[in-house]
């Protein structure tokens, strides 16, 4: 059997291939995005894959495909699950014709998310089986076994990873693809099952409850759950990545590893707990296992010592276990004398050199207007030197929050910033609401031509899709006019004066307006220019260019003799020649090496 090193996400894609999945949908979001990218790149011939407009659309499409007899998968990041949830609920009632697996990639430690929610609760809420792989081999196997579970029990299955499962790599043995038919037959008409109108859905609810009881029975002897017997003084119950941490810290303890962590195998847990002196439940984030195990009248130690916040890495488990007396301190480890990483200058993410969003945040900072922000690279506008974003909650929230400011009667002219993909994802209903309810405020639609932050995926505004085809794309101007927005101004994001004029024109408008700032993301732009230079004789060290927060603009060793302030210089390895700093410089000290002008987009 061929063995390869795969990330959890690559392994899930491989699992989809081996499981005979034929349809895979999702919306990009860290740490889940590589699943569909891998499916499309490596198994595009066997599996139809698409980036859908949002997670709910992705879920409905996967459900429709599963109703039609295609094994299907939908992928989302942790918070995207909230968008998807509405559709998840009905699929549990209807069941499916072919296997359906929902993959959620959670983010303990909040490396790239706005909350640390624990999506295992969705399994309890929606009443469907939950699988938690601990490494890449399991990530692959659980997709294959999850599809079979889905078909045996006529239910969608939830597979939950965390960032450390999705983004870690480990060794995987590859298998063959299951045989699946090329074509599907006519659509099954089964209204009592697939139409969730109250009279029929009411009959489905007992089916869901009965199925859950049968799944709990299955869990008792399912290969997903296993006991690794070691010393009997300590028994650990754990799941997912935390299993690997617990194994690292407690090499000789007995462990009950739950690969299927909902519904729980009650008899197996009782039997395990009865054979060890003390039971420790180690789980990242919420007391999901803990509360259910406590309800079984089993005495355990869990969240009273292990915190519900942040990752529960081996170092943390070790020090807690030593403090709580579950582990003897190992021979004194002579740790290094190095300073803690937190004492060093941070390397915070910043807008890239050449980013089209820079001009907008530079101006918003100058105009001092309140800004409702959204999810995307442009959220970096909240950081210094811009400090030009004052709220940010979730995908598409900016426009609704802007509307809220207007109806609350905030005296200032307010602005929302939202990207092209986020606008299609969930900004459109909020803008329609502003038009319908005669609101006022400026929506800045930052159109950089891609879904940048998650890795430059396509969206309905791009002329390509995951298949790479030349696809028709939606133009914003006619779309906005059709939505009833009367004031729409489109500007070149790399022309600071044009953005400023457009912004002022929209701010003066008494009603909902949209300013489209158009400029390609520097990663997809095919138009790189030579690095600009600073003429240090002309530079007076006024510091205006530093307000652009461009990583390429650094303080030079030369100073203004009067003020003592450092003059600017430009790092030629980073500068992309976007021209924004030349326009911002009040003394004309910044210029291109030769006379080239960036072509207008």
């Amino acid at each position: 059997m061929k063995k390869v090193l795969l990330s959890g996400n690559e392994a899930i894609a491989r699992g989809a291939y081996e499981a005979g999945i034929q349809v895979a949908t999702g919306y990009p979001g860290t740490p889940s995005s590589e699943i569909l990218e891998t499916v499309s790149r490596q198994y595009g011939k066997e599996i139809y894959a698409e980036w859908s407009t949002n997670e709910k659309v992705a879920m409905d499409a996967a459900a429709g495909a599963a109703y039609s007899g295609r094994r299907s998968m939908v992928t989302t990041k942790e918070v995207g699950m909230n968008v998807l949830a509405d559709s998840l609920m009905y699929t549990v009632y209807t069941g499916i014709e072919a296997g359906l697996i929902v993959v959620t990639a959670d983010d303990p430690g909040m490396f790239s998310s706005q909350s640390e929610q624990d999506n295992r609760w969705y399994a309890r809420l929606a009443k469907l089986p939950l699988l938690e792989p601990a490494d890449s081999q399991e990530a692959k196997d659980f997709v294959v076994q999850g599809i079979s579970l889905s078909e045996s029990f006529d239910t969608p299955v939830l597979l939950r990873t965390t960032m450390r499962v999705s983004h870690s790599k480990s060794v995987v043995s590859l298998g063959k693809r299951a045989e699946v038919p090329d074509k599907v037959g006519p659509f099954v008409r089964n209204q009592e099952k697939y139409v969730c109108t109250a009279m029929w859905a009411k009959k489905r609810h007992p089916v869901v409850e009965q199925r859950l009881r049968e799944l709990a029975q299955y869990a008792e002897s399912s290969p997903f759950n296993r006991i690794e017997w070691g010393e009997r003084s300590l028994g650990i119950i754990t799941s997912g990545i935390t299993y690997t941490y617990a194994r690292e810290v407690f090499p000789t303890a007995s462990i009950l590893k739950l690969g299927m962590s909902f519904p729980l195998p009650e008899r197996l847990i009782h039997s395990f707990a009865g054979k060890v002196e003390k039971v420790l439940v180690i789980e990242e984030l919420d007391p999901f296992l803990e509360e259910q195990i406590k309800a079984m009248q089993i005495e355990i130690v869990g969240k009273d010592v292990f915190p519900p916040c942040d990752e529960l890495l081996p170092d943390k488990i070790y020090s807690i276990a030593v403090n709580a007396g579950f582990l003897l301190e190992e021979d004194k480890i002579t740790t290094s004398t190095a300073p803690s990483a937190t004492a060093l200058p941070p390397r915070s993410p910043v807008l890239c050199p050449g980013c089209p969003h820079r001009s907008t945040f530079y101006l918003l900072n100058r105009l001092k207007v309140p800004v409702a922000g959204d999810i995307g690279c442009y959220n970096l506008g909240c950081l210094p030197p811009f400090n030009a974003q004052h709220t940010m909650g979730c995908m598409g929230a900016s426009i609704g929050v802007l509307h809220g400011m207007a109806i609350a009667g905030v005296p200032e002219r307010a602005v929302a910033t939202i990207g092209d993909s986020t606008f299609f994802h969930s900004g459109m209903p909020a803008l329609a609401n502003m038009v319908h309810n005669q609101s006022r405020g400026v929506v800045i639609l930052m159109d950089n031509g891609t879904t940048a932050m998650t890795g430059h995926q396509d969206n309905p505004g791009t002329a390509w899709s995951l298949h790479g085809k030349d696809v028709p794309h939606i133009e914003f101007k006619p779309l906005l006019h059709a939505m009833g927005v009367e004031k729409v101004v489109e500007v070149n994001a790399f022309d600071v004066a044009e953005v400023e004029d457009g912004l002022k024109e929209c701010l003066d408008y008494d009603g909902p307006s949209v300013l489209i700032t158009k400029g390609l993301c520097v990663f997809i732009s095919r138009d790189p220019q030579l690095s600009y230079i600073v003429d240090t004789d002309t530079c007076v060290a006024c510091g205006e260019c530093f307000k652009l927060g461009c990583p390429a603009i650094v303080k030079s060793d030369e100073h203004n003799p009067k003020t003592g302030k450092a003059k600017a210089s430009i790092d030629p390895t980073l500068c992309t020649g976007c021209d924004i700093c030349r326009q911002a410089c009040p003394t004309g000290a910044i210029h291109p090496p030769v006379q080239t002008k960036r072509s207008k987009t």
Partner: protein, 213 residues
């Protein structure tokens, strides 16, 4: 004693026939840190170890800190290293090497590329980048063997700063007992075909940085 009739992967300490080796690769987004640590993990797999790795990056934009954990062993449990326990630190940038230094123990070895990339907090004047003397002092106090190399300078001399990561892998390959062919084959299979010559030269130049010293 553990019950030997049941599978208990962690309980069989004395059955371990291969030494565990833990690595940390620290760099800046865009330096090829992840590619290098991918290769390092795969070298371990080819050399007969179980291997795992875990990357921590900031948001999905370039220019942030990148910390890659790589672990080799008979059976690796956690993909994440513990502080004060790694065997090797590869620093692609001096400040990032310092950021990973708390994972070192006195018996570790560190290989550090000394070309600084100041973060924006430094270039904007809010923070001060540690001096070279300070960097060397901290790292030398943290662990026994430290190799300071000019991998970026070497890469630029060869034609592209982009092959700095391969120069570093070349230098690092001299510290491990893995056949050179395994390294070369894996590295060259992971780079674009038109850059094979450049990367081979970078790998050899890296080896000479240590062996010629």
């Amino acid at each position: 004693m553990p019950n030997r009739s049941d599978p208990s992967p962690g309980a069989n300490e004395e059955e371990q026939d291969m030494k565990k080796i833990d690595f940390l690769v620290a760099g800046v987004g865009g330096q090829g840190t992840i590619l290098a640590s991918d290769i390092l993990a795969e070298v371990g797999m080819r050399a007969g170890y179980d291997a795992k790795k875990s990357d921590v990056l900031g948001l999905a934009v370039r220019g942030g800190s990148v910390l890659s954990h790589v672990r080799w062993g008979t059976k690796v449990a956690s993909p994440v290293n513990r502080k004060g326990r790694i065997d090797y630190l590869l620093g692609f940038e001096p400040l990032e090497a310092l950021r990973g230094a708390e994972f070192l123990q006195p018996q570790s070895s560190a290989l550090v590329n000394m070309q600084p990339i100041p973060p924006v907090s430094v270039s904007s004047g809010d923070d001060v980048y540690p001096t070279r003397e300070k960097l060397e002092q901290i790292l030398e106090a943290a662990t026994e063997k430290v190799y300071f190399v000019e991998a970026t300078r070497e890469a630029v001399r060869l034609g592209s700063s982009k092959v700095m990561n391969v120069v570093m892998l070349g230098a690092f390959s001299t510290l491990l007992e893995v056949p050179i062919e395994v390294w070369e084959e894996l590295i060259l299979s992971r780079v674009p075909s038109k850059h094979v010559q450049l990367n081979r030269a970078a790998f050899i130049a890296g080896r000479e940085l240590i062996q010629g010293a």
